[in-house]
Symmetry: C2
Subunit: 356 residues, 2 copies
């Protein structure tokens, strides 16, 4: 079935239309088709397709170019498809409403309404943000056609409650292994119980106090958690190994290398294996186009605690922020919803920024 998107419908109505074209990660084809058709009808945009990722650019020769980016995929349905509109509470409920089809609706409305913005704009609609990074459309674009992402500043329309969220925290996972010696449990004193020894690892986690550093004026809040534990050989054997997997969410005043050193030192008494690590991104809201953006859209910026594709822009040397109408705390829940007024407000604020 071909879906037709009406970019003149208001933001909440367009959000509902986008939600009602199912686009679980890996199955974005029909929605990408619909967005491509709508964009190609706009003569002021040059449209490129890369997989199920779409890039639409103005070419006005402005001094500054900005990216407005959003992913078009959602997590799997959870009895919350299609959308439902609550006219009394002005609330649209359904999968992907907040994360992040409301943001995509704002992107599309701006793309249609602003043929001559004061900055050149690159609109990016990308696939597979909710899954393995190797499938992430923004990652694939940055690898295969980075020139399409070239810009002075980027806004990710991820749900941020209509507030500018700056930077993002990094994330590191490590396996901490306690070693022991096997023995029959009937003579357990002949061995050394690795699970008992792992209590000392857990004690470090229990007693750990979170850093809350202020970076570029925003307060971050770190986290250090066991996310898995496993050990055991058989019901009558003293186990010789216990592995605790920890996830360290670190503020962007620490590099990935510093985060790794910190974890290795904290657990120096055990074998430490770093499983993966993605650096964070500093907010950088105090100067340049980011400062101008904050001034234009208003409100009090706050730190982004989760990891987002803002860090990918940072790696490309492009300052970026999160700013979108959705609510991040209810993303990925069966009751996910978005409220209509913030959709309209975000569109107004971005229009003001791009036309002032």
């Amino acid at each position: 079935m071909d879906h037709d998107l009406d970019l003149h419908a208001d933001g909440p109505a367009l959000t509902a239309a986008l939600v009602d074209v199912s686009s679980v990660s890996g199955e974005e084809g029909p929605l990408a088709d619909a967005i491509e058709r709508a964009l190609r009808r706009l003569p002021h945009l040059a449209v490129t397709r890369h997989g199920n990722t779409l890039v639409a650019r103005t070419g006005l020769g402005r001094k500054e170019r900005v990216v407005l980016a959003g992913h078009i995929d959602t997590v799997p349905h959870a009895g919350n498809f299609p959308s439902q509109w609550d006219a009394e509470r002005l609330r649209l409920t359904g999968v992907g409403t907040s994360d992040m089809k409301a943001g995509v609706a704002v992107q599309l409305r701006l793309a249609a309404a602003l043929p001559e913005p004061n900055r050149d704009v690159t609109y990016v609609f990308y696939e597979c943000e909710e899954v393995d990074v190797a499938r992430n459309g923004l990652f694939l674009l940055s690898r295969d056609a980075p020139e399409l992402l070239s810009a002075d500043f980027a806004v990710l329309l991820e749900p941020s409650g209509g507030v500018v969220e700056g930077g993002c925290q990094g994330t590191l996972r490590a396996a901490i292994t306690a070693a022991g010696a096997r023995a029959h449990t009937a003579r357990s004193w002949m061995g050394k119980n690795a699970i008992h020894d792992a209590a000392a690892i857990l004690d470090i986690l229990r007693n750990w106090e979170a850093r809350r550093p202020v970076v570029d004026g925003l307060e971050f809040h770190e986290g250090l958690n066991a996310v898995a534990i496993s050990g055991g050989v058989a019901g009558n054997v003293v186990p010789d190994e216990c592995v605790v997997t920890v996830n360290y969410r670190f503020a962007p005043d620490r590099s990935a290398a510093e985060a790794e050193s910190y974890i290795r030192e904290l657990f120096a008494a055990w074998k430490v294996e770093i499983l993966d690590c993605a650096p964070g991104a500093k907010p950088g809201l105090t100067a340049g186009p980011a400062a101008a953006f904050v001034k234009a859209v208003g409100g009090e910026p706050r730190a982004k605690l989760g990891w987002t594709d803002v860090a990918r822009f940072a790696e490309l040397g492009i300052p970026a922020v999160n700013y979108g109408p959705g609510i991040s705390e209810i993303a990925h829940t069966p009751g996910e919803y978005v409220e209509a007024p913030p959709i309209v407000a975000a569109e107004h604020a971005l229009t003001a920024w791009l036309t002032a």
Copy 2:
């Protein structure tokens, strides 16, 4: 291939012959056949077969009847089959040498050599001791034909280093569950980490002091160990559950019910599920036929710390001890061996007891 056992070969040679008929649990058929043929050649014994379990009884009308029992299965081979004889060290190496074909050899030698013992004797050769209790030949016999096990006293020829080992400890396994609340690790303070909470369970285990009660004159030594731990939802989720499986080896001054109450009380702060529990057995060496046995074979009895089928005899109301030429500490290891002199010594001691 049919195997022929020569019961006139000396104990170590007969042990080697028994080892060299493979009999991993569930595959005892050929060895049971060989033992059956050997026993049926002895006119003073009434032989009954039950699966791969054999019972051979004298019928002399003595005032007292004793059981000599041993299992004929072994754990799986570990590059240690067939047996190897070290003439210099008088040592036979191979799977099942100590646990417990040396004991089975002694049983068979006595069966052949003593047509008129001073006590009626029931020889039991049983299958599947090393696996799930539901397949254990002694259990099946006690369920299907308990009259064949009727006796005043029983000796299990399990490896005990040639020393009488009295009673056995009970064993209980329980799952202790720490509960929490899920949250994204980027905002971990919104949840409650169940793995961190499990540290308190492990602290109890680490700080636990083993009881060493003296029961019927023998010192036991308890053990309480985590034998498994598991928890974790995903690499970015604060986990809401962590399960610690513990194994409590308890001295026979505690009943199964008392052991269960003890564990429930020790971990009263958490959900406790009892997974299985087998009671121990008191030594009972201070009176009756057990005391006479200890006196006859000599040596200083000690407590049996592992769980053995002695407890099964105790459930049938039959006092029992472990007494055999093997070495329990090296059972189930690739280097398992038995020394020749203790095989001969055990045969002599039992002969003296049955002919005095």
